[in-house]
């Protein structure tokens, strides 16, 4: 039998990979966005696992909503990326510091 901790460990590893990805790919905006999607995926996995183990369907409902929001956020993030690219012709994040305080 597969224990819960196995699943949870897998989820943790996915999360860790995405965090590392953020650190490593700080210049590449697209990969940043994809790392965020990875993070969301790992969290979704967590929810599903706990929903299964506690026999509560609320976890899956929440995954539903996270999926929705993730999709919306990806869309808008990509739209912003497109506009940025029109202006700067580059997706190098070190050029994007116009909101510096």
């Amino acid at each position: 039998m597969i224990e819960i901790s196995n699943y949870l460990t897998f989820s943790a590893i996915l999360f860790g990979i995405s965090v590392a990805g953020i650190f490593i790919n700080r210049k590449n905006l697209i990969v940043l966005l994809m790392c965020i999607e990875l993070m969301l995926l790992s969290i979704n996995t967590n929810f599903v696992i706990f929903s299964r183990s506690l026999i509560d369907v609320s976890g899956q409902i929440f995954v539903f909503f996270i999926l929705t929001v993730a999709a919306a956020e990806a869309a808008i993030g990509l739209a912003i990326l497109v506009i940025l690219f029109r202006k700067l012709n580059d997706i190098n994040t070190s050029e994007i510091n116009k909101l510096k305080g």
Partner: protein, 197 residues
């Protein structure tokens, strides 16, 4: 139950490797495609947890819509790959160490708790229908968040369109309101020219 374990380890391995591929590859298209693979294998894992609805939805919605969108954008933009890999070596140790610490912390807290670490999935009751239960709860208890999520999607759509839409570039029709708004001072400037002796 050996087969379940084999399936689990296989697909979790595929998932992990493709995730690594996402962050480490030089080619952005390759990153996107490996992310798609990661999603697929995670869907299989969800299927293992007996939440079949969500795993299919993951593939349909997430991969089918969101990742395709990513692919579109990556294809559309002309990315100078040389700048991208700048600083890769510089930040590599930091990133790995932070991520390692994070994973270590989480794993420790999972395995430390003996209740969780020994537990396995208990069986579902008879007549358990995932989709049916999901539908029942979604449309009664969580109706309000459900509607709100619809509105969120609407807002996202409007936002994305209003951000990026520039109007047709090749349109040759007249914009009457802009024509009327013109004022003389925008077009004509009186310059005093002195007579030169």
């Amino acid at each position: 139950m050996e087969i379940l374990k084999i399936i689990f380890y296989t697909f979790s391995l595929i998932s992990t490797v493709s995730a690594l591929q996402v962050i480490l590859s030089k080619n952005p298209v390759r990153s996107v495609l490996s992310l798609v693979l990661c999603f697929f294998s995670t869907a299989v894992l969800w299927m293992l947890c007996e939440s079949e609805f969500l795993s299919i939805v993951l593939i349909l919605v997430y991969v089918g819509a969101v990742m395709v969108l990513f692919l579109f954008v990556v294809m559309m933009l002309d990315i100078k790959t040389s700048y991208i890999k700048e600083g890769f070596v510089k930040y590599f140790p930091l990133g790995v160490s932070v991520a390692f610490l994070l994973v270590l912390g989480i794993v420790y807290s999972i395995t430390y708790n003996t209740i969780i670490s020994c537990k396995t999935f208990s069986a579902y009751p008879e007549n358990y229908n995932n989709v049916k239960i999901l539908g029942e709860v979604l449309f009664t208890e969580y109706l309000y968040p459900f509607e709100i999520s619809g509105i969120i999607l609407l807002v996202a759509m409007i936002a994305a369109i209003s951000l990026t839409f520039r109007g047709s570039q090749k349109r040759k029709s007249q914009d009457v309101s802009a024509q009327i708004k013109v004022q003389a001072k925008d077009r004509v400037k009186l310059v005093d020219i002195k007579e030169n002796e």
